[in-house]
Subunit: 245 residues, 2 copies
């Protein structure tokens, strides 16, 4: 497998989505030779799915990659489109809508087969990273739909909190991100949570997990009953693959 | 009915939970004559339920009210405890755990009957306000449990976003609160969302809805396809009661 899980789409100063991880994207596309990429746009709520496809196509064009990005929402048969894709891209937006749509369309099995069995490259950011986890229980998004589905693609065996941040709005009394993750750990004591700040990503290549950062920010690992531990890009995070949920 | 829905528990400078709304609490307790109050503590994750009961008892003691606060988690028969309660208090914490526990214990019907039919006073803050809505789809909390239940007590016919704030952490690219609510409206175009900032509350007394604020902050009403509208405590918000979800 060749899976890139980005915390988010853009950081300050970026013109294109995935720009802060562009070297990793270029390497992945060249390594896998993928040309026909399918974008899963279902998380996008406040703009059109077609617009999101165009934005992502711009990224690949700007990177000088000869790739064609097609929106899965335009496919007559979404399952077939996944089966025929040479690469799968999953845009951020609302995790709840994205995850439920994948289940409603019967796409969970086909995506897992393509990515895990056939080695089709996967790039997700934000909600697209949330759904690569066993469940979406560590999303930051509002549950805007009534039919909630929590279980997800389980491409990695641990929970990720994307857009992870330590800062809080001054004076705001609502829970901090760390407090929300601590609540998760109280209820799920054997499931660590990996907080990845904006501008960072995880890469799972043929079973080897590595952490990368465009701005030097470390990964923060939360485990029940222990103080959180920071990991830099120079440190191994392979042990995370041994966690089973 | 006599329902107080607070945005949150404490604002800066408060020593006790509900302190910023203490006049409203005193008036409600005196108006209803409630002495035996049941606290629903299931949202509390990072401290003990007993500790939360003690904290809330301190509030009533500090207000000079002769009330006894009992934790519902200590009741042998929670349904019976609700049926015998003279007042129901619902603490903040994690909305998902709170709402699912109410359903698991069969408490939704008994609480609705007590509050809507028998006029037992209800005070909720944060998660305790979220569950007074038709659903918990406008919670800010992380969905830390796998069995998600979205439908809730439906004591008011509209969705509330508690801890509502406009500020954002500088440089953070994740969705703002307004953007999250806009996503809700895109999916649920006929369901307005009422954002109530910390230090504010709604009061539903015998069908009459009013808005109150300890810090002058206005309520912010979000409706699909329209600019958000602010309402001060001097303006009527009774029209919100006409919304049906």
């Amino acid at each position: 497998m060749d899976i890139l899980l980005l915390s988010n789409g853009k950081i300050a100063g970026n013109q294109h989505v995935m720009e802060f991880a562009s070297d990793a994207v270029v390497e992945q596309i060249k390594r896998t030779g993928a040309k026909n990429l399918v974008l899963i746009p279902y998380a996008v709520i406040r703009s059109s799915h077609d617009d999101r496809v165009a934005l992502v196509q711009e990224t690949f064009d700007a990177l000088g990659l000869d790739c064609k990005v097609t929106g899965l929402h335009r496919a007559e048969d979404p399952v077939k489109a996944i089966q025929e894709a040479e690469g799968i891209l999953v845009s951020g937006g609302n995790t709840w809508v994205l995850n439920k749509t994948l289940h409603d369309l019967g796409l969970v099995g086909p995506i897992r087969k393509a990515v895990l069995d056939q080695g089709i490259p996967y790039i997700g950011w934000s909600a697209g990273t949330n759904i690569a986890c066993p469940t979406i229980r560590t999303t930051n998004d509002m549950p805007i739909i009534t039919g909630a589905v929590l279980s997800s693609l389980n491409l990695v065996p641990f929970q990720i909190n994307p857009h992870y941040l330590e800062a809080n709005v001054e004076g705001h009394m609502g829970e901090t991100r760390d407090e929300r993750i601590q609540e998760f750990l109280e209820v799920n004591q054997y499931e660590p949570v990996v907080g990845i700040p904006e501008g960072t990503w995880l890469h799972l290549l043929n079973g080897e997990l590595s952490y990368h950062t465009a701005n030097g920010k470390p990964l923060k690992l939360f485990s029940h009953g222990e103080d959180p531990v920071y990991y830099t890009a120079e440190q191994s995070v392979q042990f995370l693959m041994a966690h089973s949920c």
